[in-house]
């Protein structure tokens, strides 16, 4: 049908089929790529536009409904201030504020947020924080935790009202300056949460600097993200934002049964449907066994997967691929594929997987074992680590305390789903433009699957709309690639939100048993964890994720006294197959699972001994100068080598975090725990101490290449994969620091397997550290050539000779000690055009012999309804030692967003399967992630240490915020009401049952 719209102020006519959604019309027919696809049911809001001035979600609206109306998309708002000789009015104040405050991470939901804010400010120029949170309530963000977007909108409102806003400067404070206790909510206040939360945090986090005063000009500064300006304008920067002539749409037929052999599959009817270009079943493509886990060679896990197989192993497993002219035709074709399934008994409970006579998931002869995997027993991996002598340690204890804990399967839920576009280029090389965290692994791992050598594959990683580990999986690229090979045409495959839930990867659910031996004085003598980990239908990351559960979470408590020198730790894990969707990588990578058990257990041990929980922790936790206890025992399935902990700010984190949350005023204070006028409510406060790692030692490698341009600017090319975290920015800041130029002069590009050096990809909290060091090393090579040439230029006409070592790079110039200088542009022209011509460039790479752990203390304040079991999390504070902070805006953004994901893990996120193995959660209504208008207050404090193994002293920041929120909330719940919830999420009914148990047991105790 023919529609007349006023699109961004211009009248347009568009002809679309009547079932077209407004989202499809805007993206596919009108090229408005700033409108994003995040779901199909209207919950995420990434597809929002202003319809006659009001934000609406275009995925749940027919284009026809908008006929005659006015539509505003991000494309009409703001421009780059300088477009050649043409000057523009620049960015809109809202966009400017989003850029300045660090409100953009992946940028996928940014256009929708800007539009919502615009509609708000049009009606209300002076909104309260609650108004802003209401306005953002329709846009789900998985990256930021909403704090910086809220601050951005309040800032923009002030600018638009003509008020002067402060520039965003650094907020450092000296080590001696402990924060004053934060104000407590006034008596009788129903503790915060929701739209009423009053953010006390400034735009920048507090940073406690422990190192001497610095002279850095770029590292440590709150620089705006290098990709912020394009993202805030909604430029077509993402994998799906591309138009190609003749591009087909791919769809996957998923198994409706949990376990079956395909007796017969007939695609003839589907192939005959007009508009269908190809249908592929297992019969049509080569049978190549591989692993979808995006990891370095050799893959530390079993090879147990085929692009398509004659067997299906979970509801959602792949049965056939279709490519068609339109999505509707592809959908219809799926329904015409006739499949005859021979149902097999299924394993849905991991506890059943290894029992005698259990059905076997992997009986394919091609299966390749790794380590102790044993498909005959449904064992995907097995880990047993003994450090010291646990049995002796337990025997020496005054008391052995045990506990059983459980964590659910949860989804990464990046707002951009998995999406890939494949096509043959003019050299018949296969181009894979994909939303991935691991472009180089995609190329290497898919090559044999596609029957191509890696050199004939080019993987392009454009901007990524969030990943959180979900895109550390080679999960969609083969679908489109097989279809491009079959048809010769470009193919786009983008998963639906439902597919993200029933087909994509998730966090490993685990059952964890703890046994801890302690002396009466609180010394831990031995610590043991036994884990049953569920990898689902395929092995993927099973070994390495579960290994990290022990390697990080069980490393923190070494004990005290003699035990500190020689800790007794045992970690035992079985990682089993079940007929459920495969588990994979998810921010934290096994460590949040481990810390739920460890930190809940340590709280219970401390309380059993009658010790202060903070004191008990500090007595037993790892300290600087000590050996990482697991470093000699296990290293991601590779050879372990000893690592010493050089920096540990944990004690200071506890001091700063407890001061910020007012621990001493609240813990043990009965009157603070009560809420006046609400006898059924109780407040509680809890803590968890955690550690993570920074990259995989002796394995993770990143490369960087820097070249100098005529104007003294530099191209920085990295294989490192910015998936929204800001890694491009912090890498560029490190280059700018070495080269003495502003960040503007570094043009970053990531990543393209043809043009950028290798990098293992964005995982294991490694980029700032590993790729950052590579960037510094490459920049030093460039700086050396600049200094050499500048010294020669500065020595020409003067008696005073300058040696290269005397030359200092700063302010875009090379300075002689006597104050003379040449500009870098002059050096560049000299090098490229004038004299002994050369391309000044540097290439370097880095692999670390250690994985320095960041440490943190995470605090939570909750209000518990002791009658209904409802938990409201009022406040989260995290004090973290991530080494030196390269960019306080992006780093605190990581912490805030991570805490928010972890908050969902604590109270509402889980994936549950029915008796047939069907997923209960398939959309954002059932799988609830926190909205802007229900957030607790968030606060971030960085306690800096200077890690000696990095040129600027950095450690990781990305994953550690996932680790401690759930146990801190669990401990706060215990503090509030005395009920121990052993399993997350702490849903109202789980807590209600725990409350009943604790009342019954205390009644029994009284008898």
């Amino acid at each position: 049908m023919r529609l007349r719209l006023t699109l961004n102020g211009k009248r347009v006519v568009v002809v679309v089929p009547s079932e077209t959604t407004l989202l499809e019309a805007l993206r596919d027919h009108l090229g408005m790529f700033g409108v994003k696809h995040g779901c199909e049911t209207g919950e995420c809001g990434a597809c929002a536009v202003l319809l006659d001035g009001e934000p609406v979600n275009t995925c749940v609206m027919l284009a026809a409904q908008a006929d005659g109306k006015s539509i505003t998309t991000i494309e009409s708002i703001g421009q780059h201030p300088e477009l050649g000789w043409r000057r523009t009015e620049g960015l809109d104040p809202l966009q400017q504020a989003f850029v300045e405050t660090g409100a953009i991470q992946c940028g996928y939901c940014t256009p929708a947020m800007i539009l919502a804010a615009r509609a708000l400010l049009a009606e209300n120029p002076s909104p309260s924080e609650a108004d802003v949170r209401q306005a953002l309530s329709g846009v789900l963000c998985r990256c930021t935790g909403y704090l910086k977007p809220v601050q951005a909108i309040l800032r923009a409102a002030a600018v638009l009202r003509g008020e002067t806003v402060q520039s965003i400067g650094a907020a450092f404070f000296p080590p001696s300056d402990l924060m004053p206790p934060a104000e407590t909510p006034s008596e009788g206040d129903l503790a915060g949460g929701g739209t009423e939360v009053l953010t006390r945090a400034g735009i920048l986090p507090l940073i406690q600097v422990t190192s001497p005063p610095r002279t850095w000009t770029s590292v440590g500064r709150p620089e705006p993200k290098v990709d912020a300006v394009k993202l805030v304008q909604g430029k077509p920067a993402f994998a799906a934002d591309i138009e190609m002539r003749g591009m087909l749409v791919a769809k996957v037929l998923h198994s409706p049964v949990a376990h079956a052999r395909i007796r017969k599959i007939d695609a003839a009817k589907a192939r005959a449907l007009p508009g269908v270009a190809a249908v592929l079943t297992w019969k049509d493509i080569p049978r190549v066994v591989y692993s979808t886990a995006g990891q370095s060679d050799p893959i530390p896990g079993p090879l147990d997967t085929f692009s398509l197989d004659e067997k299906v192993r979970f509801v959602g497993d792949r049965v056939a691929f279709v490519a068609a002219e339109s999505e509707a035709v592809a959908e219809q074709a799926l329904g015409l594929i006739q499949v005859d399934y021979e149902p097999l008994p299924a394993i849905l409970d991991p506890a059943e997987a290894m029992k005698e006579g259990a059905p076997r998931l992997h009986d394919e002869p091609e299966y390749v074992n790794f380590g102790d995997s044993d498909p005959a027993r449904n064992l995907a991996a097995h880990i047993h680590i003994d450090i010291g002598d646990v049995d002796r340690g337990m025997a020496e204890a005054d008391q052995v305390i045990e506990g059983d804990y459980a964590v659910p399967k949860v989804q990464q839920a990046s707002i951009e789903p998995h999406v890939v576009v494949t096509y043959w280029d003019e050299d018949n090389r296969l181009v894979i433009r994909t939303s991935t965290q691991v472009p180089f692994h995609v190329r290497r791992q898919l090559a044999p699957v596609l029957g191509l050598p890696p050199k004939r594959i080019r993987v392009i990683k454009p901007r990524i709309g969030g990943g959180f580990g979900g895109k550390q999986e080679v999960m969609v690229e083969d679908v489109a690639a097989h279809l491009t090979i079959a048809t010769g045409r470009p193919v786009r495959y983008e998963t639906t939100r439902a597919e993200e839930f029933f087909f994509a990867r998730s966090r490993h659910p685990m059952r964890l048993r703890m046994r801890t031996g302690v002396k009466r004085d609180g010394t831990i003598t031995a610590n043991e964890m036994t884990v049953l980990s569920d990898t689902g239908a395929y092995g993927c990351h099973g070994l390495t994720v579960t290994g990290n559960t022990g390697h990080k979470a069980m490393a923190l408590y070494v004990g005290d006294g003699p035990y500190r020198k020689s800790p007794n730790i045992r970690f035992h894990a079985d990682i089993v197959y079940t007929n459920t969707p495969p588990s994979g990588a998810f921010r934290g990578y096994g460590v949040p699972q481990g810390f739920w058990a460890v930190e809940r257990h340590m709280e219970r041990v401390a309380r059993t001994l009658g010790m202060d929980p903070l004191e008990f922790r500090l007595k037993n936790t790892l300290r600087a100068g000590e050996l990482h206890p697991f470093s000699t025992a296990w290293s991601e399935g590779r050879e372990p080598r000893p690592e010493t902990i050089h920096t540990c700010g944990l004690e200071e984190c506890i001091a700063q975090g407890s001061a910020a949350i007012g621990w001493s005023d609240k813990y043990g204070n009965a009157s603070w725990h009560r809420v006046r006028g609400k006898p059924h409510l109780r407040r509680g406060i809890g803590v968890a101490t955690v550690m993570q790692g920074t990259a995989i030692p002796y394995l993770d490698m990143g490369g960087a290449s820097i070249k100098m341009n005529d104007d003294g600017s530099f191209n920085l090319m990295v294989g490192a994969t910015d998936l929204g975290t800001g890694s491009d920015t912090v890498l560029a800041q490190q280059a700018a620091e070495v080269l003495g130029v502003p960040l503007d002069d570094i043009i970053v590009y990531s990543s393209d397997t043809d043009f950028t050096p290798f990098d293992k990809g964005a995982y294991a909290s490694s980029t700032t550290y590993i790729s950052g060091t590579a960037v510094v090393l490459a920049a030093r090579k460039v700086a050396e050539r600049i200094r050499w040439r500048a010294a020669r230029m500065l020595s020409k006409d003067e008696a005073a000779k300058v040696t290269p070592d005397d030359v200092r790079l700063a302010d875009r110039q090379a300075w002689a000690p006597d104050g003379r200088s040449v500009t870098l542009a002059e050096v560049a022209l000299n090098a490229l055009h004038h004299e002994d011509q050369e391309q000044i460039m540097g290439v370097a790479s880095f692999v670390s012999p250690s994985s320095p752990p960041p440490f943190a203390a995470q605090f939570a304040e909750v209000t518990v309804d002791t009658e209904t079991g409802a938990v409201t999390v009022d406040r989260l504070v995290m004090a973290v030692d991530s080494g030196v902070i390269v960019n306080p805006l992006t780093a605190s953004g990581q912490i805030e967003g991570g805490m928010t994901q972890a908050l969902g893990y604590a109270v509402c996120e889980e994936m549950v399967y029915d008796e047939a193995g069907r997923a209960r959660e398939q959309n954002f209504t059932d799988y609830h992630i926190f909205r802007s208008d229900e957030m607790p207050e968030l606060q971030t404090i960085f306690v800096e240490t200077v890690e000696p193994s990095h040129p600027f002293g950095v450690k990781a920041v990305a994953e550690i915020p996932m680790d401690g929120v759930a146990p801190a909330v669990g401990n706060a719940v215990l503090d509030a009401c005395g009920a121990d919830v052993m399993e997350i999420p702490i849903t109202p009914e789980r807590l209600w049952r725990a409350l009943r148990r604790s009342r019954q047991s205390s009644v029994i105790g009284h008898q």
Binding site: L62, Q65, E989
Partner: protein, 279 residues
């Protein structure tokens, strides 16, 4: 492949004729994802059914009024209904979803449906051209009740509503929801939600409250949810929490309790206090 037919009638008569061959389309938030399974949609946006007005002691609201319009008319509608609208959907969807569409699609977890039941709302439908209680309308969905097209809702302006809900997070769909309505003449309505096809009224609880028997009302609520188990919560949990929330709302509403009931309440509170003390 058969294409979806789209109509945007200008008059009610035209719409009713077209509805012979398709389904009414309001905001589209629940219908659009199902578009491939539909033959024809009749878009109601030009029928001008978005008015909010006061008719004597009643408020009358067009079925095409969006949830956001209801919120913005906050001086006009009960604060509890405003709260229910916020809880029903986030801003973007509230700009699209209409009151009529929300009722057609409502499940037991819909706060707006619970609010309308507690308000004693009625809905007018065509072609039957009749008013029905929202309660009767909700339970008749799926059957041919003559309500092909909802035109407007009405409820007494003097009725007040209180809400209590339990969910996994403040804005998550409620697992248990209780709404207590008090009409101008003092008549009480007790509505339970949080599961099933729609929220339900609990007449036994209403009668008990009317006679000051708060424990009786709580028991009736528990009884009404005695089998209300599903994937999200057990019946045991819902029954107990429904009773607790009824007690709380009765206390907030300052419903005077009969003497024996008061004693029972005190005993219960004391026991709960002791349990907490031990904790």
């Amino acid at each position: 492949m058969p294409s979806l037919k789209y109509f945007r009638p200008k008059t009610l008569d035209e719409a009713l004729t077209l509805l012979e061959q398709g389904v009414p389309l309001a905001g589209g938030t629940t219908l659009t994802p199902r578009r491939h399974r539909l033959d024809a949609v009749i878009d109601l946006q030009d029928l001008g059914m978005a008015a909010l007005e006061r008719q004597g002691d009643a408020l009358e609201v067009g079925a095409g009024c969006t949830l956001q319009q209801l919120i913005e008319a906050d001086a006009f509608v009960s604060p509890a209904l405003t709260e229910a609208c916020r809880s029903e959907a986030a801003w973007n969807l509230r700009n699209m979803a209409t009151l009529g569409g929300t009722m057609v699609a409502a499940t037991g977890r819909s706060p707006v449906a619970a609010a309308l039941l507690a308000l004693g709302a009625e809905v007018h439908g065509l072609p039957i051209d009749r008013w029905s209680t929202v309660e009767a309308f909700l339970s008749a969905r799926g059957a041919d009740s003559g309500f092909r097209l909802l035109t407007r809702f009405r409820w007494p302006a003097t009725t007040t509503v209180r809400f209590a809900r339990v969910g996994r997070s403040p804005m998550d769909a409620p697992i248990v929801l209780v709404a207590l309505g008090r009409a101008g003449d003092g008549a009480l309505r007790v509505v339970l939600g949080g599961c099933g096809q729609g929220p339900v009224r609990v007449p036994d609880a209403e009668q008990a409250l009317a006679s000051g028997d708060i424990s009786g009302a709580a028991r009736a609520a528990a009884q009404a949810y005695a089998t209300a188990g599903d994937a999200w919560a057990s019946a045991e949990y819902r029954a107990e929490v429904a009773a607790i929330l009824v007690r709380r709302l009765a206390a907030e509403e300052k419903i005077p309790s009969a003497a024996k009931d008061k004693a029972a309440d005190e005993g219960r509170d004391k026991a709960a206090g002791e349990a907490k003390g031990r904790a």
